[in-house]
């Protein structure tokens, strides 16, 4: 039902439920929660039209803390539920809140197919490279050799890179952000909301209990200028304290250069094109380790599943002689018994 009344001027309080938040003290999940509650009033969406769907894990407690519609469902299956919600009512703003265990392991199949189909969903993945809720086993993003409760001698299973997996599954929108940067998180949540299609946001989220400091080497205040590059569409790929370093393409590889050294000028630096259809360069950026690429890496507008379905339904309806089920039942080969 479309209404024309203006959308109320919400504050973050309107999106805060009466439930006590129960994450470990110091967890980045609080940052993501507050960033979401602060971003929602700026999205131009009615609170009754917002739905949070989650699976199982620490991240998946998220819907309880939002004063919107929500469902805390079963392990790894949130993308399926969210797809059903969105197809049933395309007017809703549907969010999947998930973790690296929930979406990369038990829910891997649903995750890749949601991206492939491009339903207009927003998936926020809290990646802490560990299973938190089950108390410290390695996850599909844990590092090789990492010692955990289920890998006391070191993890022997090589990790997924969520971004690479997502782009391989034809994700049209992929962003990566540090979990300790609320302003950037809010900004990118809004961008994801505005993007039509499945958007995936990977948040590098520290687990203070089982994997503390897992992203320190790129997210700590004193190193992040040099270890992270924040990409913006249409802007040169620069980083460093004085934006003196940049990324260039050499052959089939990305390389870090310093402006002013070896004759490198600003003009040599790659300009970020998030909207490019061909994901090759986005893949390379996702793979880059030093610096780690953050920001919106890919944002390529494509038809959504519901748009394709709507168009096809309209076409079939226009051609069909049936308006009600009786028309079908009494059509074709029927006969009379008298």
């Amino acid at each position: 039902m479309e209404t024309t009344t203006p959308i109320p001027a919400y504050t973050f309080k309107d999106f805060t439920s009466d439930q006590e938040v129960r994450w470990c003290p110091g967890c980045d999940d609080y940052v993501i929660l507050r960033s979401m509650q602060k971003a929602l009033p700026d999205m131009g969406v009615r609170k009754e039209d917002v739905v949070f769907i989650s699976g199982i894990g620490c991240s998946s407690r998220f819907p309880y803390y939002m004063d919107t519609y929500g469902m805390h469902s079963i392990h790894g299956r949130a993308p399926g539920i969210a797809t059903g919600v969105k197809l049933a009512n395309p007017n809703l703003s549907v969010w999947v809140m998930t973790g690296d265990g929930d979406s990369m392991a038990i829910g891997g199949n649903h995750f890749i197919h949601a991206l492939r189909r491009n339903v207009d969903l927003n998936i926020v993945m809290f990646n802490n490279e560990i299973y938190g809720l089950t108390k410290g086993q390695f996850s599909p993003t844990s590092l090789l050799g990492q010692k955990t409760k289920s890998s006391p001698y070191g993890n022997t299973q090589p990790p997924f890179s969520p971004g690479e997996l997502a782009l391989g599954a034809n994700a049209r929108f992929f962003a990566r952000i540090a979990g300790n940067n609320p302003k950037v998180i809010s900004q990118i949540l809004i961008e994801a909301h505005q993007f039509k299609g499945t958007s995936l946001i990977e948040v590098l989220q520290n687990c203070v209990i089982f994997n503390d400091g897992c992203f320190d080497s790129v997210t700590n205040k004193d190193v992040k200028e040099d270890k992270q590059i924040f990409l913006e569409h249409g802007k040169p790929m620069l980083f460093g304290k004085d934006k003196e370093k940049g990324i260039v393409l050499k052959g089939l590889k990305l390389e870090v250069v310093t402006i002013g050294e070896n004759g490198v000028t600003l003009a040599d630096i790659l300009v970020h094109d998030a909207k490019e259809k061909d994901p090759t360069l986005h893949q390379m950026l996702v793979r880059l380790e030093h610096p780690m690429v953050t920001g919106v890496i890919r944002s390529y507008e494509d038809f959504t599943l519901e748009e394709r379905e709507d168009a096809l339904t309209a076409e079939v309806k226009a051609r069909s002689p049936f308006t009600k089920t009786d028309d079908l039942f009494f059509s074709g080969e029927t006969y009379q018994v008298k």
Partner: protein, 617 residues
Amino acid sequence: MITEKIKIEPEVLEAVVVRFVGDSGDGMQLTGTQFTDTSAMFGNDVATFPNYPSEIRAPQGSLYGVSGFQVHIGSVEVSTPGDNVDLLVAMNPAGLKANLHALKPKQTIIVDTDAFTSKNLEKAAYATNPLHDGSLDNYKVIEVPMTSLTKEAVKDIPGLDNSAITRSKNMFSLGMIYWMYNRSTEHTIDFINKKFKSKPQLIEANTKVLNAGFYYAETLELIPNSYTISPAKMREGTYRIIMGNTATAWGLLAAAEKAGLELFLGSYPITPATDILHELVKHKHFGVKAFQAEDEIAGITSAIGASFAGDLAVTTTSGPGLALKGEAIGLAVMTELPLVIINVQRGGPSTGLPTKTEQSDLMQAMYGRNGESPAIVLAASTPANCFNYAYEAARLALEHMTPVILLTDGYIANGSAPWKIKSVSEMPEIKNRKITDSTEKNAPFNRDPETLARNWAVPGTPGLEHRIGGLEKDSITGNVSHVPENHQTMTYIRAEKVRRVQENIPELKTEFAQSGDLLVVGWGGTYGSLYSAVKHLNKEGYDGIGLAHFNYINPLPKNTAEIFSKFKTIVVCELNGGQFASILRMNFGQFEYTQFNKIQGLPFANDELTQEFKKLI
């Protein structure tokens, strides 16, 4: 079309069972369907049973590649596709070998002699040609060189390739059968014209071959007689022939229209349930959203999402798929969302017998979930009443805010029968529990005091924002609750809610004797077999036998014990090891139950039932 050559008056038969067999690819399903439809339009009652291998295209001529289609047509009520065959049409030696056991002694076989080559005989493991070695002396064998006659019939049609010629030979056999049973070819000619609209040579070829078969039978002195089966006495109305899976799909369409909701199907292909998906994807004109998911779990979870968002949500599957959906059904039980889950049962366990029928998923439907997780369980019993029970499943799910599992099976799902068409206006009302009143805020688990069904506040409704999920919840607010007493309360509420559905379903009715020596008890797709066996015994004078057939399994109808108490012996007949009998023992332990079980991937045969019942009297 009838010429003066016919001197004999057609013999009048009450009912006849015809089985068409050949290679998968020989067009036996189509031949059978055409004969069925033509007979139905003539006014006969009909019941069909297609039987085909699980391979897509098994090697030609092999025994395991035989595809068959059986049809029972009658001037009297026909409730099964029949056990024993009166006429066997065998397009090759393998078909003959694999099906001869079903043919009644002295009855007729029509064979394509062209297919009885030494190579085909070898493939069918015949040491000698059965047409010549005397092994068929106990039958009337009509030998027809169908392939060469077909070639001859179409030799003047230009531009017809060899495979088109070979493929049209099924029309030759059909033409012969039409003459034998005194049927017009008109319906099939219409069909050919429509099917090959853009291919005039194929219209010409198939029509010529059909007529050639008809005239051949007419002139063939080998056919000793022609038969007729008078129209059956059926209730007045408009009918069509419908397959169980189609009827299921249409029942859902009718329910969505009646409830004023959009229909959402989340499904993953699996035999023998897939035809429900195939049917519903066609109906985008009714706004049906049929979503083919990446797996069974996504099939049901997408349906749960659609239900949360306010659609009439359905998922369809067969046994192995139901196993995968178990956890999600638990979520639907916990969140108390309306959801229709259709399980078209096949032989199990595991992949089991994918194309064969069985009733062995009953316990899975009842209990195949973690925790105490009650759901409504229904079972359809005929191809045509799949319509009613799919509708009923939707009605109960929406009115009671709970998942409903509807069991059908391969036998009724693939079988077809006349369906007296029901207009949506004739169907019972369906009330859904959607609310918009924002004074219900923070009370998503507020219930109707009578049914205990909760309200349905759907996303998009202002003021009713709430969270649900798989964790145990407070009985009113729906907030997560680990309070021990609350869990017990909620467990009882969920069970009691399903129990109270008894007030919203009809009482059990007994057919034939209302009290007496033996009560035959069955459920689901065995209805036709049990009905005809009990009817048969009644005709023989055994008048103390009653039939109680269940469509409502959980909860059971409230007069069940009362009916059981009126009979000396109760026999529970099932195509499994005794699952329903166990449920009855659990619920009505005061009675003794005898079991009759068959687990062969096949329906009950009339003889085995009647012999068993006679032993029990």
